[in-house]
């Protein structure tokens, strides 16, 4: 086990080196550059030159990459060319918003998806089953940002039930020790602030949940159907075990194996979807930050943030693989 984890972590190193090189070349191949993005199209050549010298962009590519990597291995991702603040600081200000959003969406997807998929399979062929299949198909095909707009239009603009944008009411004077706004309210003892943060999360989380929800419903349903046909379920029934015991001990536990892997594999989808949902609901998360960084040709910000996302993404996938071995003794890694 330890060897497996170690080998997978070691594999991360060439991936990150390759990625950093490709990222480095890619941002510099983008049309325009940070100087033009910041100083405008009509900036004088002297001003651009001064800007480039300030950020070391006048040196050769090789020199730039070497010095960049020299700093990266010391966990210094450089400063944003737009704000002149360390990329890592900006990342930690924004990333909690994305995590909160993604976790809330995942929570909705799991809490609704597993029971729905389970009951669809138990009532195979009924209207509940058929409508859950159709709904999950529509769930994966409906554009996330459109669903976001729809929810915002109906529940925020028309009905006024929930806030339409941002993470928290700006009039609330709250401290943010962790930048996880839901948590901050609890930590500082301000439950009003926590509720306000949750209210701001509901609509974007539902929009973002649509795709993982649809996938979880489908996998749960298929998996429960598979397990229901297994010999051990028939044996359990023949032994005269009660329906409850069979469902809980035999069906659910075995059916959850593929579901748990699927849940882990949603990370990429959630991060992709977060970019769209954050844009719709004007959430200051990492998705909107990246889109703006690309627009502003903010080299350090783009490179740094994508690198961190890749690390998180690869580690989450590793955790999924490990957890699969823990949950299912049959596939325990050697």
């Amino acid at each position: 086990m330890a060897r497996f984890v170690f080998r997978r972590l070691a594999l991360l190193i060439p991936i990150l080196f390759g990625l950093s090189l490709l990222l480095f070349l890619w941002v510099r191949a983008l049309p325009g550059g940070p100087a033009i993005a910041l100083l405008g199209e009509r900036a004088t050549p002297e001003a651009i030159e001064r800007f480039n010298r300030l950020y070391g962009l006048d040196r050769s590519l090789w020199e730039q990459y070497a010095s960049y990597m020299g700093r990266v291995v010391r966990l210094d991702l450089g400063a944003s060319t737009r704000t002149n603040r360390p990329v890592l600081t900006e990342f930690w200000e924004r990333f909690p918003a994305t995590i909160e959003l993604a976790l809330a969406a995942l929570l909705i997807a799991v809490a609704v998806g597993i029971p729905l998929g389970y009951f669809a399979a138990r009532r195979f062929g009924t209207w509940l089953d058929n409508s859950s299949v159709v709904a999950s198909l529509i769930g994966v095909t409906i554009p996330v940002f459109f669903l976001g707009f729809l929810l915002k239009y109906v529940f925020a603009v028309r009905l006024g039930w929930l806030p339409s944008q941002g993470r928290q009411d700006a009039r609330l004077a709250v401290e943010h020790p962790t930048n996880f706004y839901v948590l901050d309210g609890i930590v500082t003892g301000n439950l009003n602030a926590t509720w306000d943060a949750i209210a701001h999360l509901i609509l974007p989380a539902i929009a973002l949940a649509s795709i993982p929800l649809a996938i979880i419903v489908r996998i749960t349903r298929a998996s429960v159907l598979d397990v229901l046909n297994e010999d051990y379920v028939r044996t359990a029934e023949a032994k005269g075990l009660t329906k409850r015991v069979i469902s809980r001990r035999h069906v659910l536990r075995n059916a959850m194996l593929p579901v748990s892997t699927t849940i882990g594999l949603q990370t990429g989808l959630l991060l992709s979807g977060a970019i769209l949902t954050e844009t719709v609901f004007a959430l200051p998360g990492i998705g909107t930050y990246l889109v703006r960084a690309i627009d502003g040709r903010d080299y350090s910000a783009i490179q740094g943030v994508i690198l961190i996302i890749a690390v998180i993404y690869v580690i989450v996938n590793l955790l999924v693989d490990i957890s699969y071995g823990i949950i299912d003794p049959r596939v325990r890694v050697r």
Binding site: L19, P143, F146, V157, L271, L290, I309
Partner: protein, 305 residues
């Protein structure tokens, strides 16, 4: 025994393995009996027909501002007998734009799928066929590409290639390359040890011939399924990129994603202009998803009953 005879033997061993009747025939039989597959095929057919005959079906041109005089700030006329689905903010007939939009979606979907399929298969073929350090290198490249979430990758590519239709296709295709490559390689590795490959090898069929005539044709199924599913994702991703302002720069092009994105700014005045392209996207993506999923089930031996 001649090489041809050996190959026939190899083929028959393969057929035998599948309990009489080749995999494809069996899959086709099951596909025809699956209502989801038929529904998907009908939706795809409808989409293809609309795309092909858009000029005949559309009452107006997609860029003609036929009702410009009826547009007032904050008010866009709804459906009428002249314009069944109403007009957009520039006075263009919505129905005509939707019909022509099928063409754009088809071109973007097929184009990006072909680009992703071609380069993905090339990479997978090199990895699975040559093995050794080529395999190692190709798979590290695949790992790197897969370490970035799909849409983020597409945004990155879109920023680089520019806001044209081809750019949009490339942006959607590139994140799919590692998926195709990994699928083809995995499938080829599984088939490399199959009995029919051993049979062909033992009678001295050349390695390149084994790869191209035996392993590749038998390994393509999962890749083809993925291709069908990518057609659906491509249509949705094109909409997402358009929404983020990374679609085509030409406002005249009747592309569903762009129509949907544009409609957000006058959602209150004309909500139907947002719903219609969204419905078009959902219907066409649904068609390809249903078809792809049924194809996967039909080709998957585990679903054989």
């Amino acid at each position: 025994m001649s090489i041809q005879a050996a190959e026939i033997l190899a083929e028959t061993t393969h057929v035998d393995e599948e309990h009489g009747g080749s995999v494809r025939v069996e899959a086709w039989r099951r596909l025809r009996r699956n209502p989801a597959a038929i529904a998907g095929a009908l939706l795809v057919l409808l989409f293809l027909l609309v795309a092909a005959f858009a000029p005949l079906l559309a009452p107006y041109g997609p860029t003609d501002q036929v009702a410009l005089d009826q547009i007032r700030p904050g008010s866009i006329p709804g459906p009428s007998s002249e314009h069944v689905l109403g007009v957009d903010n520039l006075g263009r007939d919505e129905l005509s734009r939707l019909l022509y939009g099928a063409r754009q979606s088809l071109i973007i979907g097929v184009g990006s799928t072909l680009i992703g399929f071609f380069f993905g298969c090339l990479l997978g073929l090199a990895a699975g066929g040559l093995g050794g350090w080529v395999d190692g290198l190709a798979m590290r490249l695949v790992d790197i590409m897969l370490s970035i979430p799909g849409l983020l990758f597409a945004i990155a590519v879109a920023a680089l290639v520019g806001k044209t239709r081809l750019g949009l296709m490339i942006a959607i295709a590139v994140p799919a390359i590692p998926i195709f490559a990994r699928l083809l390689r995995g499938s080829m590795l599984a088939h490399r040890e199959a009995d029919y490959v051993m049979a062909a090898k033992s009678v001295g069929v050349r390695q390149s011939r084994i790869v191209f005539s035996h392993i590749v044709p038998n390994s393509l199924s999962p890749v083809l399924v993925q291709g069908t599913l990518l057609l659906a994702t491509a249509i949705i991703d094109a909409a997402a990129l358009s929404f983020l302002g990374l679609g085509t720069d030409d406002p005249g092009v009747p592309e569903w994603g762009r129509m949907l994105a544009d409609s957000q700014s006058y959602l209150a005045a004309a909500a139907h202009l947002a719903f219609l392209p969204c419905i078009a996207i959902v219907i066409s993506a649904l068609g390809f998803t249903l078809l792809g999923e049924s194809l996967r089930e039909a080709l998957d031996p585990r679903f054989r009953r």
